[in-house]
């Protein structure tokens, strides 16, 4: 994979909210078509790293380069998928409208959405398996379906990099499968994917690389190499148990 172009370069980067450092001394490289899982306990700084990749939290030392430029300048080609349950389920907006939001940057403020925009929206909904729900109100869908709608919104934006914040939390098996499929097809098209998750099985299944985080970096590299019992125990600070030598469960996230 290393002949592919790097899309994300993190070089001794530290990230801080004001004077409070959240993440220190991160290092790593992600290439086109690769997915990296951010793994660590709650409060480890996974969401903060995603916000730093969007240029919403400043890098105070070192360097983060996204798609060959600064995170803020790369935003046009980066799509962000929030956790569905952080959004108001009473909001009067249809599934289709939410996905169309992914096209806003291309449509601009005044122009009406073109036939091409509508086709992108329909195609994105198709890819997450929710074309039949286009006209329903967003809040009437299940949590997993709402998460898929938000992924469709990101797909409709045509991103070169996709950032997903805990997309598998509280998601049913059908939706999890649909999310994994859609992420896989985006990777095949050459997009890089960064996904934060608690779920080590999903990291194994969907990601080429893993970044173990808990304020500091406890490993960054190919999934098989990094997800070792020793490193997980170090990352989770004793809340990880070993099972049968090669498998680990995390007892407290």
């Amino acid at each position: 994979m290393s002949e592919r172009a790097p899309t994300l370069v993190i070089d001794r980067a530290s990230v801080a909210y004001g004077d409070v450092p959240v993440l220190e001394e991160l290092d790593g490289v992600v290439h086109e078509g690769e997915a990296v899982a951010l793994i660590g306990p709650n409060g480890a700084g996974k969401s903060t790293l995603i916000k730093a990749l969007l240029g919403l939290v400043p890098v105070v030392r070192g360097r983060i380069e996204v798609l060959g430029t600064t995170p803020a300048q790369a935003r046009r080609d980066v799509a962000y998928v929030p956790q569905a349950d952080t959004l108001d389920p009473d909001f009067p907006v249809s599934v289709e409208q939410v996905v169309m939001m992914g096209r806003y940057r291309r449509i601009g403020w005044l122009r009406r959405p073109s036939a091409a925009d509508r086709a992108e929206v329909a195609g994105a909904l198709e890819r997450v398996g929710l074309a039949a729900r286009a006209r329903d109100r967003f809040g009437t869908l299940s949590g997993g379906q709402r998460q898929r709608v938000l992924l469709a919104r990101a797909i409709a934006a045509g991103p070169r990099m996709l950032l997903l914040d805990e997309p598998f939390n509280g998601v049913d098996a059908v939706s999890q499968h649909a999310l994994l499929e859609a992420i896989g097809s985006l990777k095949e098209q050459g997009a890089s994917v960064v996904v934060s998750t608690h779920d080590l099985a999903i990291a194994h299944l969907a990601c080429d690389e893993v970044c173990l985080l808990n304020r500091h970096q406890f490993g960054f590299g190919p999934t098989g190499d990094v997800l070792t019992p020793e490193r997980l125990r170090a990352t989770y600070g004793g809340h990880a148990l070993e099972l049968r030598g090669d498998r680990v469960i995390v007892t407290q996230t």
């Binding site: 919403l56 980066v78 959004l87 909001f91 409208q97 939001m101 005044l110």
Partner: protein, 299 residues
Amino acid sequence: MIFFEPFQLPFMARALAELVVLGALAGTVGVLVLLRRLAFVSDTLTHTVFPGVVIGHLMAGDGGVFWGALAAGVVTAVLLTLLTARRRVSEDAALAVLLTTLFAAGVVLVSRQTGFTSDLTAFLFGRVLTVTEEQLAQTAVVTVLVVALLAVLRRPLLLRAFDPVGARAAGVRVGLLDLVVNVAVALVVVAAVKAVGTILVIALLVVPAAAARSLSERLVVIVPLAALLGAAAGWLGLVASYEASIGYGLRLASGATVVLVLVGLYGLAHAAAFARRRAGLGRARRRTAPDDLDVLEAA
């Protein structure tokens, strides 16, 4: 016909135009207040515009009211945007302090005038029957300006209301956008000073949008419906207060009557939504019943 006849009098026609335009404007902006959950921020703005009204009146009489309100509205909209930009636990308390401080300052200023209770009542609750053509024109200009602004910014406004982090990630300048919203709310308060006063305008900002939301799930319906309900309440409220005073010798303050009519419409909207939900449930039950039987028979 009691719904049209009073408006042959020029002062009633001006009052009607003022209330209908204002109702439509407040209804439209109110949808944004509803989506962003800004009712308390809006209430704060209604109170912080008040000292501007008083100072404008002290400096230049009736003609100064609009400009004083405008200055206070814009300044406090900026202050509020800065204050609410940082998510702090004490945000509510900070708003309450700002609200009461500026409101009290306004009352102190107006109380230095002779005959101040009459002025105070006019500033707080409006005096729509004395609306002049100049004030009508000011309301119209504010309305066109605010509605055009919201129409142009509708996409970033919607995205920011629905998903604030997603909006920032998509490059929306959220701070600037929030300032625009607060200024729009302040402008509604400024436009409302003459017709319903600074206090009652909160009802115009909150109630039509809430009523429209209970009737529809779609913004393309909610926005015009809220504007229509606001305008209708202005009209019906004015007719009611006129009829009460001419026909029955009851003097009803027109601004407050408009608000009560609005609350009545809100009640009707909820009743209609409730009836429709019950009918919908009944239909759904009838639809599912045969399916259940099919399942039983198949088993």
